[in-house]
């Protein structure tokens, strides 16, 4: 080899120069929380986690970890500490942190419109105090709709999403049509793209509606609470068999718009608790590839009828665990169905990317992830804020489309104050929690249940539920094997 091609050895050091000395490392910021009586979950600056015994945690902090130990290599590779003088860990962590915070710059993505508060079912847990199908004063006007569309296109988000909520939106399909056509026209003018979803019980689906939705690339989301008797118990109608209409509606939507034309979610009532497998079977039987197991929300008829208080967080967790185990088992038997709550938590835990799930944002996702335009033009920081207003407390009302400007509403005291106070990085009980990076704030729920937008975490149902969910999912992942593989396969 010519001498000129021989690389300089000046920069090549013997292996021993790369080995660390015991205690010669610098801790990086991290949080921790007990997983069980022996193990702790440690999460680094960006939420990447390790599960270790308490002795390891103590050794890490007291810098007595042996450099030749497996724990040393694991914790160093996951950026819980770095060797003094080496900066690559800092660069990587800063870049990952920036990636994780990127959705904040996107600003509001989800825009919900309530074209009518009228409804033709009387769900026991209705969160908005539905009105009868003939109550015409609950319909949105074209003037309010125009302003709602203007408002939506002010958002800098690159992924605008328009969702029709109710009431039952199809009871005012003329307004739904008007808004969709106006939105599609505005898309052409601006070169932007809006995903559109109608949340409906599907009871009023018709060929005319389906043709319109196919033409305008509109999808549906519906509620399916389980088998016929359970669904009808939760979502009764005086006019028709609620389950039958939904089932037929699902079939018709799929025929017209394809298998992805409709998704479904369920709400857990006390009657659901003993039937987790039947609920999952109903989804499998109807050909769904995913379901979202949701606890009940503390608003509207759910509180008036006392439905809310009929089960505890612990009871819901037992229901959830049984259903999740069953879903994992189905997947292992070749029946592919994903549980959406677990999937979005897994995405938050195992990837550097955020999720649009409004309940798990820091600062809170109200207003800046999602916003709601009510039938009367009132604008609420979230759907739950609207639900609260329907109960007589307009605390989260940002203004009215007909009277207030975008700036007035997005810079309103109630929104700014709430966002400022709900950064979990600085919230008591959250700031040190090992699950902080995955969790978030739900100011409307805490305001409703505890009278405070931050909430008292030791007594918070939201905190108890998410702590239990994170522990359960990490337990399954740590158990390894096929269950962990199924869960990891749900990340998207």
């Amino acid at each position: 080899m010519p001498l000129s091609l021989v690389p300089s050895h000046k920069k090549i050091h013997p292996p021993e120069e790369f080995s660390s000395e015991a205690g010669a490392y610098q801790l990086l910021p991290f949080r921790f929380v007990p997983l069980d009586s022996k193990k702790y979950v440690l999460s680094n600056f960006v939420g990447e986690y390790c599960v270790v015994e308490r002795e390891i945690l103590q050794a890490l902090i007291s810098k007595t970890l042996r450099p030749d130990s497996a724990a040393y290599s694991l914790l160093k590779s996951r950026h819980f500490f770095f060797d003094v003088g080496e900066s690559s860990a800092l660069h990587l962590l800063a870049t990952k942190y920036r990636t994780k915070q990127t959705p904040l710059a996107e600003f509001t993505s989800l825009h919900m419109i309530v074209p009518t508060l009228r409804c033709n079912t009387s769900c026991v847990y209705c969160q908005v105090s539905h009105k009868g199908a003939a109550a015409g004063s609950c319909d949105m006007t074209e003037a309010a709709a125009d302003r709602a569309i203007d408002f939506m296109f002010r958002s800098p988000s690159s992924h605008l999403k328009l969702e029709f909520q109710g009431g039952e939106p199809l009871l005012n399909f003329e307004m739904v049509q008007y808004i969709i056509e106006s939105t599609r026209q505005r898309e052409q003018q601006t070169g932007r793209k809006v995903s559109i979803i109608i949340c409906s019980n599907l009871s009023l689906i018709s060929d005319q509606i389906l043709q319109f939705c196919e033409k305008h690339d509109v999808q549906f989301s519906t509620s399916l609470d389980g088998p016929c008797d359970l669904h009808n118990q939760n979502r009764p109608s005086a006019e028709f068999d609620s389950y039958d209409r939904t089932r037929i509606g699902i079939t018709r939507v799929r025929e017209a718009l394809g298998i992805c034309g409709v998704s479904a979610l369920m709400t857990t009532t006390q009657a659901s608790l003993s039937r987790p497998k039947e609920i999952v079977d109903e989804y499998v039987g109807q050909g769904f590839k995913s379901l979202f197991l949701r606890p009940i929300n503390p608003y509207g008829f759910a509180t008036k009828a006392g439905v809310l208080t009929r089960y505890s967080t612990l009871e819901w967790m037992e229901f959830y665990k049984t259903a999740l185990d069953y879903i994992i088992d189905l997947n292992l038997r070749g029946i592919h169905i994903r549980e959406e709550y677990a999937a979005l938590l897994l995405r938050r835990m195992l990837t550097p990317y955020g999720t649009g799930f409004v309940d798990l944002q820091s600062p809170a996702g109200i207003g800046i992830s999602a916003i709601l335009f009510n039938h009367d033009g009132n604008v609420y920081a979230s759907d739950e804020g609207r639900m609260l207003a329907e109960m007589g407390d307009p605390h989260f009302r940002l203004g009215n489309l007909l009277h207030d400007s975008y700036e007035d509403m997005m810079l309103s005291d109630v929104l700014i104050e709430t966002l400022t106070q709900t950064m979990t990085e600085g919230v008591p009980g959250c700031s040190d929690c090992g699950f902080q990076a995955y969790c978030g704030s739900d100011p409307v729920r805490h305001y409703r249940l505890q009278g405070d937008i931050v909430g008292n975490k030791p007594t918070s149902e939201f905190c108890q539920r998410h702590m239990a969910l994170f522990r359960h999912i990490i337990g399954l992942l740590e158990g390894g094997g096929t269950a962990a593989n199924v869960l990891k396969g749900w990340i998207y």
Partner: protein, 126 residues
């Protein structure tokens, strides 16, 4: 338990003393917040002793066990205080770096000269 002395008052209030040479006030306050759902908590400091009075709420079914849990929680919070103290500067640096357009960590990597890294003998540089 090292550094901890407990006493039970007639109304069921449990009194726990922490030595300030072992425990930080901040760690005790954070633990008190966490156990606020189970106990009414009063914290007082006298010289080198921090006295914590834990009066069980109705929801606290086994006060003795939870007082033990409280003491363990103070240990965990102590560890958290140690980590927070040591990493405060790095945390600020990481946050600043995450949203900076230039490197705040090692400016040399932004301005360094490739040739100065003694690569003159590499074939591409002949």
């Amino acid at each position: 338990m090292s550094g901890i002395a407990t006493n039970v008052l007639t109304d069921g209030t449990q009194v726990v003393n922490f030595n300030t040479s072992v425990y930080r006030l901040n760690a005790i306050k954070k633990s008190a917040y966490k156990f606020g759902g189970l106990f009414h908590v009063l914290i007082e400091q006298r010289d080198r002793i921090i006295e914590v009075r834990l009066k069980p709420k109705e929801s606290c079914k086994s006060p003795d066990a939870f007082v033990g849990e409280f003491c363990n929680e103070v240990l965990d919070q102590e560890l958290r205080e140690t980590v927070a103290e040591e990493t405060a500067g790095i945390r600020d640096l990481l946050l600043a770096q995450a949203f900076s357009k230039t490197s705040l960590i090692d400016s040399e990597s932004e301005t360094g000269d490739y040739d100065s890294e003694n690569c003159a003998e590499a074939p591409g540089n002949q």
